[in-house]
Symmetry: D2
Subunit: 410 residues, 4 copies
């Protein structure tokens, strides 16, 4: 814990899967890193009084409120952490910025390009007044991912020729899995594309330092009608038998799935590389399989989120007979973010990426620097998502990504 007395009082909106992950990170970050400010878990916000009160108690927040406008209006909150579904990101984040709060907003930044554009503009305005903002592409902070970026930046891969990115899940393979909010366009914006495709877009752009310039895409909804849900938590859910059409539970009411189940696209990066992307929730047996391979003229790297402590690195400048993919266990003290944790070989988990994200966010805010990825970076991802959707609508025709002002600086 830092010797500083400087505090950042955090107000978090949302308490589901992301809210739990962020809470774990806020709770831990100052315990393992020595930072110029301490995060205080001051206030949590949710619409249901009973549930938010319980969440505050369970997750360790000092107080709760049911009105996010109340949270934003309070003087004793420095940071607003937006963990709600995508349809409310813009409204909350814009209000928070306007109120002079630093904002950490979950990805995807918004459900539409228009919203994202407004948010990026507001962030730029706020930035001039010393207000910081950041979008929560937490996988940038997996040590192996940060290390990939460093290898590319140091030229260890040479000219990048290929990017191969897949994010595969299987939680809705069963046609009886209910119509949760993530399967509804008005809540989630899109399906696999925005939820997990956004992650691999950001991650590959971050690692390569190159932006996607154009795409050719196909999207698919395999199961077009699903039972209405009773309740859900994380990525699990139950069907509401009581909601059945005839009232006796034999045939639950159904509704249309309005988002993509899967999105695949070919892309070109600014530096000339050819890239393929696939995001799907129908890859049976793949639970959280974000996998990226990058081939350059001098070497290659491979990353798999289900083995996030490992990085495979192929160095083509080594003697021919000794070349091969080296499985680096990214747990050494001199690997990114790892000095704070355990001895080599003692692995970390998914949640640590959030702790690392909070670490960088706190440091940036406390020292007056701009954290990355910015809202402008996140807008650029949104523009890629939009180009994918447009290409899919136009028979996969090659579609240029509208330029944003984003960079991919760390």
């Amino acid at each position: 814990m830092s010797t500083t007395d400087k505090q950042l009082r955090v107000g978090m909106v949302g308490y589901a899967f992301m809210g739990a992950a962020h809470s774990q990170a806020w709770r831990t970050v100052n315990r393992v890193y020595d930072l110029p400010a301490r995060a205080r878990m001051a206030l949590i916000c949710g619409r249901d009084t009973g549930k938010v009160a319980d969440a505050a108690d369970r997750l360790g927040w000092e107080a709760y409120t049911t009105d996010w406008r109340d949270l934003i209006s309070r003087d004793d909150i420095d940071v607003v952490d937006v963990c709600t579904p995508g349809d409310s990101h813009a409204e909350i984040a814009l209000a928070a910025l306007a109120a002079g709060k630093h904002v950490l907003c979950e990805k995807p930044l918004a459900n539409t390009v228009a919203e994202a554009r407004a948010m990026a503009a507001a962030a730029a305005t706020a930035q001039a007044a010393g207000v910081r903002s950041m979008c929560g592409f937490n996988y940038r902070r997996v040590p192996a991912v940060t290390m990939m970026r460093q290898l590319v930046a140091e030229g260890r891969l040479g000219v990048i020729r290929h990017v191969r990115a897949t994010y595969l899940q299987d939680w809705i393979v069963d046609p009886q899995f209910p119509l949760v909010w993530r399967l509804q366009r008005d809540r989630a914006g899109s399906g696999a594309l925005g939820d997990i495709g956004a992650h691999i877009i950001d991650l590959t752009q971050f690692v390569t330092g190159q932006l996607i310039t154009g795409v050719s895409a196909v999207t698919e909804t395999f199961v077009k009608e699903r039972p209405l849900p009773a309740g859900s938590s994380g990525l699990a859910a139950t069907v509401d038998g009581a909601g059945s059409a005839d009232g006796n539970g034999s045939a639950p009411a159904t509704g249309p799935v309005t988002v993509d189940d899967a999105a695949v696209f070919v892309a070109r990066l600014g530096g000339g590389a050819l890239a393929t992307y696939e995001a799907t929730r129908f890859a049976t047996g793949r639970k959280n399989a974000l996998r990226v391979e990058i081939n350059g003229s001098l070497g290659s790297v491979v990353f798999d989120l289900e083995r996030l402590n490992e990085l495979e690195f192929y160095d083509a400048t080594r003697p021919t007979t000794e070349q091969g993919f080296t499985r680096i266990l990214v747990t050494e003290g001199d690997h990114p973010y790892m000095s704070a944790w355990w001895p080599p070989g003692h692995i970390i988990g998914y949640e640590h990426s959030f702790t690392h994200q909070m670490r960088d966010f706190i440091e940036a805010v406390a020292t007056g620097a701009d954290p990355a990825p910015s809202f402008a970076d996140a807008l650029q991802v949104q523009l890629v998502l939009e180009a994918v959707t447009r290409s899919a609508d136009l028979g996969s025709s090659w579609t240029e990504v509208e330029p944003a002002l984003a960079t991919v600086a760390a």
Copy 2:
């Protein structure tokens, strides 16, 4: 060895990489399988007298000739095995079929759809006269691949949702690698697309039992000009210093690369699955990395040619807590083709796929059955390649594959 005295006298055209692989298979097949006919390595053909004489001696052929028309015209040849570059497949195979010879032709069947169409027609005509023909997509006969097809056919994967196929090599990453015949359109037809892309097209159609109906594609030639070659063997080659522009070796003459270095495309299969394909020679560190993953509603399979004795199978009908990808070592006596080889766990290699191919070819010819894949099957692959090229030329627009009469029966 069979107790039969029936012989199949084989005449093989070509003696390079494929010629060596086929020779090893013809030499071995009757030693390990009990078949209704014995292959006799009767005659080998190549244009250079010295080289073909040496090849005959080294590879174990009884005689040699420098004229493939001579080979075809001889009465004591039953089977013509075409192992030349793609630009001569059609002429040789058509002549052989016309002469009543059974034909085994290496893939891709031809360099153009027109040639392939003529060959398929000729094969159909010849078939009526009891003449058999087959295209050499040898990977169908890797035991793990055959097993994948069986699992799909038995319904173990349920409805197929995704196919993910890559064939990655890296032998021309170096811009100084010379302009061998495989990099010239007039000899090879196409680059990575026809050479290795054809393999994953055939393999995935074979395994799923579904044909590709449409594609959206991008192709790329990263290195557009290369030194002229001095000599090559297999996939290795040397640059001809003597061919340098100024005659003193300081700047070798170069020529344009007229084929693709990489081809990526999204496809749909007849049964509704979404598929991605990538064939490239620029994937640093990937030597012969044919990898296929298929996700169905009830399970998934994964195959990697660099570990061709293994098959990963995910069975989603198992109890939840015990589900996972099972690494099956496909070396049991009751696995396809394996009863002839060694005890379990004693692995086989790349060349065995050719021995298995010869086994099935000999059996079909000797029993009067039609071997698969037929020329019609191979024409259908050619039509997919053609659709890929067309889509790439048309800004990746979705392009239907012209229907052929092919089936994907085993």
Copy 3:
């Protein structure tokens, strides 16, 4: 967080590697599990005032003291958590039990059998008075390890024939690595044997439900003299240049390594299995490589701590052609301990084993049950360590393990 108001006020002795890991667990456990009592991080104890004050602040303890006797004598402490080096375990734990405190003691339980015997006796006495005690073999609570035990208990492996256990590290391969406390017999009791060998002894006995009955052993100290240390943290350390013999830093003072660098032994388990064990700090490239394979008449399991979210299970009752090692990602909600964490495929890390340990400890104490492993269980491990040492001293002669009253109940 539980709705209970019941508290367990914890006093922890020690604040180094284990202290940090335990702190992370105490801080997290009630945030993710709903338990019948809440742990309060009441008091931390260390000898150096400045360091323990800093640790209290950094790790989040309410107060600190420099005298462990003070900690034990306080009425407002319910649980004593012993995280010191092995030479002080007995004294502290005995005093704590005598004072009626529940005790959680790090492994190995003690440095000698005599001490361990006294502790087990004291624990038995205290237990009659409702005082609970537990030894910190945290790896039992890795979900994949717990699942291994369940599979064995359910008979899924049949009769166990082989156990193969290695715990490989490499942090002292460099002969210049200094003589830290873990390399001194009077502080650590033994070297690799007690530090990491104890883990695999406990883990395999726990999983198989069988005790080791006899051993044949060899131990080795490869580097017999090392520089004296300046400071250390976790498993890292620096050499004290100022401590050099001549005072000018050119030749640091050295001292004898009095523990084993490596210990290997063959063992028999009560149920007839043949087992091999290896613990070493000289396995270059192996950082924290605890690996266990168990072969039974009906199946096998394999576990690797560096991939602790995975379990490989071979089920020999499956059809022959489909048998293989199934890589189970132990991250489903119905896997042990996992309902509290993230969706499937979102992996956990090393530290979670401590959180799970605290979960079971709190539950046991709060409900008046006896947590496992008990001090008696840990004494039994100590008796195995002692038999290993004796066998090594007697030219590897087969040496029976002295029976304890331990069981291997969960």
Copy 4:
């Protein structure tokens, strides 16, 4: 094929599993390697006329005989290849050497030390007369194994600290598997120990260049009585129902298993390394799992026979953050033995190790060099086996290996 006309006329005794593997190698070796002599498959010998005639035809031998003394006495045989069970090795090899034939003898060299000693002496005598002999430890010629030896010899591993060798199979886990000759001491000499343990003893001594000096061992026979066999092939066999006690098939006659099912031992190598060995036929799920790991002060290597085209190499002299186990695909043209085969990434199989063995044997014989491993080398392995047996008999007491005159030169 070499331009040479020099022939080596081979007479092979035995035609079962090893006979088939050797035949494949003799048939192939001159087709892929350019050697100073050509092997001719002149004569095969077996006791059963019908079976050996069939084998000659199937495997491609020019002639057959049922009397090995006849084979040895013929003038037109240059090489005697001994592929029989171990109980006849000595008699045949001694006679062949006496007759001036070069001898290739399968491992283990003999069933007893006395026999092996006589054979080594005879080989030394014969060697003075220009007669060559070699023992068939074929795994030395797996390219990855040869490469391991080279890495050690070049000092890339530094001082070797640990060797970890296991050879795990599971073909007799079923108690109803019959009592084949490999389970009878008078035929096989020993069980897992001599059959597969001998391989890992030779392999590790070959790779490290160090001999085992002493051992502490345990052996075990888990299933002590088995049904009598009807027939066997390779490692498979059937039970003879007709051999049942009462003649109606309900209870087949059984016999005692007189060899070990498993053997485990700890050893020390001449250079100071600590080594563990395990050979078993009871490791459910492990088919042919010869796995070796060697840890040195500068690096480590790992080899797995079920993935014999791969070698994992850890180079501890690389930068800390980039260290890891590099999976080298040992299929490059400049890897040992690989220039003769296919392009990189096109894997080879189990049988290729025999082809490589024949390559080296032919070259040595044709050029008047001594092939390795010699009979003296094989005697030394026998002495290790004998020490293992002795230690197991003496309660695992440390037992020195009797020195032989063996070296471990390649």
